[in-house]
């Protein structure tokens, strides 16, 4: 299917600023779905609230635009009642890891089969540039006017610790890698988490003198490196890209089917 056919043209123009990384994520995601030959009817997209979450309006799938931070909880209800559906759950970093952090770790722990996408721009875009739990120390934000003192955490490490069975990271600069990761994440049976570093030139960029959208994307090229590369050993500050975890573990809905079997037999 052509990528264009996955879009809901009725819904355009989109609300993203020019240069926003979220559109690049959408592009790569649709390419992955096209590569896999998926039909629109088999895909459910559940999103929360934020610039990133608006992605669900633009695609011609079954789309559920929910409330801030809770997309994974809604998705759990959809998936458990209709396990045959493919769930994509795009979230912002605030959405997924501040207000939604609890749902994030528990969805990962259950290993319920869905693809969680964290579009990490290290800022709250929708509300106008406040710091997020992914901003990190020294970052300027509208609520950190003297610079941020909050430590950030590593989304990949968190997902791993919580039990996610597929964990990967890429950036909007590395679109081919991103597309490939999405393909693998979607095919993975279990909880898959893909973190994409995605630029917000409007707030993160301006507040932190990070330059234009292109400058920010180039910094993704410079500041990241493939997992286990030689440059990582030379420069530990580099952020690793690639697939960190990919393992087979019994999936939640399948396990629940076994419970049903047991219960029907009277234990």
């Amino acid at each position: 299917m052509a990528i264009k056919d996955y879009l809901r043209e009725r819904f355009f123009p989109h609300l993203w600023c020019s240069g926003c990384g979220h559109g690049i994520v959408l592009n790569s995601l649709l390419r992955a779905l096209a590569d896999l030959g998926m039909s629109k009817n088999e895909i459910v997209m559940v999103s929360g609230i934020g610039c990133s979450s608006r992605i669900s309006g633009y695609v011609d799938f079954h789309t559920l635009h929910t409330i801030h931070g809770r997309a994974l909880a809604f998705a759990t209800g959809v998936k458990l009642s209709r396990p045959e559906l493919n769930l994509l759950v795009p979230m912002g970093d605030g959405d997924a890891l501040a207000i939604g952090g609890n749902h994030f770790i528990h969805a990962a722990r259950r290993n319920i089969d869905l693809t969680a996408i964290v579009m990490n721009n290290r800022i709250y875009g929708m509300t106008g540039g406040q710091y997020s739990p992914l901003s990190g120390q020294g970052i300027m934000a509208t609520t950190a006017p003297y610079s941020n003192i909050d430590y950030d955490f590593d989304t990949v490490e968190l997902a791993k610790a919580a039990g996610a069975t597929f964990v990967a990271r890429s950036t909007t600069y590395h679109t081919q890698q991103m597309t490939k990761m999405f393909r693998q994440a979607i095919l993975h049976e279990g909880f898959a988490m893909v973190e994409i570093l995605s630029q917000c030139p409007t707030y993160f960029g301006r507040k932190n003198r990070a330059g234009s959208a292109i400058d920010m994307m180039e910094s993704y090229k410079e500041n990241t490196t493939p997992i286990g590369s030689k440059s990582k050993m030379e420069n530990p500050d580099l952020i690793e890209r690639g697939i960190f975890v990919q393992k087979e573990v019994p999936e939640y809905c399948n396990e629940y089917d076994k419970i049903i079997e047991k219960a029907m037999k009277g234990r």
Binding site: N41, V44, T63, H65, R70, A73, L80
Partner: protein, 382 residues
């Protein structure tokens, strides 16, 4: 022995009612005094191919049932005060997106952690206005286990008919007390099936375009029609809109679909109201004591009656006004600081004849408590 006769807790009567109504999916988080509902459903639901999940909190529970309902399942969650507080934002989402679901709140004393193992009816107004913004809500209650069963079935029926969340507002005494329940046979109590669209695959389906009778046929999410669901104001396709007419019309629709049907939705019971000079108005477990008072005083020549409310929201103002017209005085019996009392005062022509008999100390209100308060009101001293 008839195997349909059971001796159960109210929470179990609720479970029986939900299963009778066709419950497919339950998500919840343990909290006293509602926990038995989750425990029982974790056994019963998978026995019939249904799904039970214990979520990480009540917010997630409420969100999960909304997601499951959209796909065509009949859904429920159960909680108590603190958990009900956490559910409010997602409850508003279900109102806005018009998603059928049933929320049981077995009330305990609040605010905050309050008094977990004791009775209260303090969440009546929270059920009405707990979530933000103008909206309508349906909340129903019961005073005995047969009625718990029937109101639970009714909650599912209303939620499907009007595409709305329905709150079952039970209380700790009802939830934990044991008494007889006769589980009806299939078909003995009507059960409303989901109204599904007749729009065929490939034809544009409008999830938010009401039929002539005001009802909105659904299409199982993830099925043959693709559409958008959002908590933003939206048009008939479910696409966000800030067009003032769209916003105005949707809000009116959400409120009118409930308030224009107060008469169809309202359920109540009346005892000796025809000639009653003193009317007790009560609901939930408090109504048991109120009925006891009426049954005691009637044979002693007192013209006293009871109006037991089962539907609390939308509040049946005209019913109250009509029933109380001839009464000399009306006493609202409830275990809070007068939450239904205020509504009754609004409903009647002479608010000064409305009095309150209540307890707010976690102790169940007894017939003697009510009679003592009646003597004070009648100027007889205790």
């Amino acid at each position: 022995m008839n195997e349909n006769i059971k001796f159960v807790q109210g929470n179990e009567a609720c479970v029986e009612g939900a299963l009778f109504a066709g419950l497919d999916f339950f998500a919840g988080y343990p909290i006293t005094p509602s926990t038995e509902i989750a425990e029982l459903l974790s056994i019963r639901l998978p026995q019939r191919g249904g799904k039970f999940i214990q979520m990480e909190d009540e917010i997630a529970s409420m969100c999960a049932i909304i997601g499951a309902s959209l796909t065509g399942s009949k859904v429920m969650t159960a909680t108590s005060g603190p958990g009900f507080s956490l559910m409010q934002e997602a409850l508003g989402y279900a109102i806005m997106a018009e998603i059928p679901c049933v929320i049981v709140n077995v009330q305990r004393g609040g605010p905050s952690t309050g008094i977990p193992t004791r009775v209260s009816q303090g969440d009546v107004n929270q059920a009405r206005w707990g979530t933000h913004g103008d909206h309508a809500i349906v909340a129903i209650t019961a005073s005995n286990h047969q009625d718990v069963f029937e109101t639970t079935v009714e909650a599912f029926n209303i939620s499907e008919t009007y595409r709305t969340p329905v709150i079952l507002l039970y209380d700790e005494v009802i939830g934990h007390m044991r008494e007889r329940l006769i589980v009806p046979k299939e078909g003995e109590v009507p059960s409303v099936k989901r109204l599904k669209t007749s729009v065929r695959e490939g034809v544009d389906y409008h999830p938010y375009l009401p039929r002539e009778d005001g009802r909105l046929p659904m299409s199982d999410f993830g099925g043959v029609h693709r559409y958008n669901v959002t908590g933003l104001f939206h048009d008939m396709w479910g696409f966000p809109s800030d067009n003032p007419k769209v916003v105005h019309d949707l809000l009116r629709h959400l409120v009118d679909k409930i308030h224009n049907n107060v008469n169809q939705i309202t359920k109540y019971k009346s005892y000796y109201l025809d000639d009653a000079e003193c009317i007790l108005i009560s609901y939930g477990s408090a109504a048991r004591s109120a009925l006891h008072v009426v049954d005691y005083l009637r044979p002693r020549g007192e013209k006293i009656g009871l109006l037991e409310l089962q539907t609390l929201w939308p509040f049946p103002h005209s019913l109250i006004s009509e029933k109380c017209r001839k009464a000399k005085y009306v006493i609202v019996v409830e275990m809070n600081m007068g939450q239904i009392l205020k509504e009754v005062r609004i409903a009647v022509e002479e608010p000064e004849k409305i009095f309150l008999a209540n307890r707010i100390d976690g102790v169940f209100i007894t017939p003697m408590d009510i009679r003592n308060i009646m003597r004070l009101i009648q100027g007889k001293g205790v």
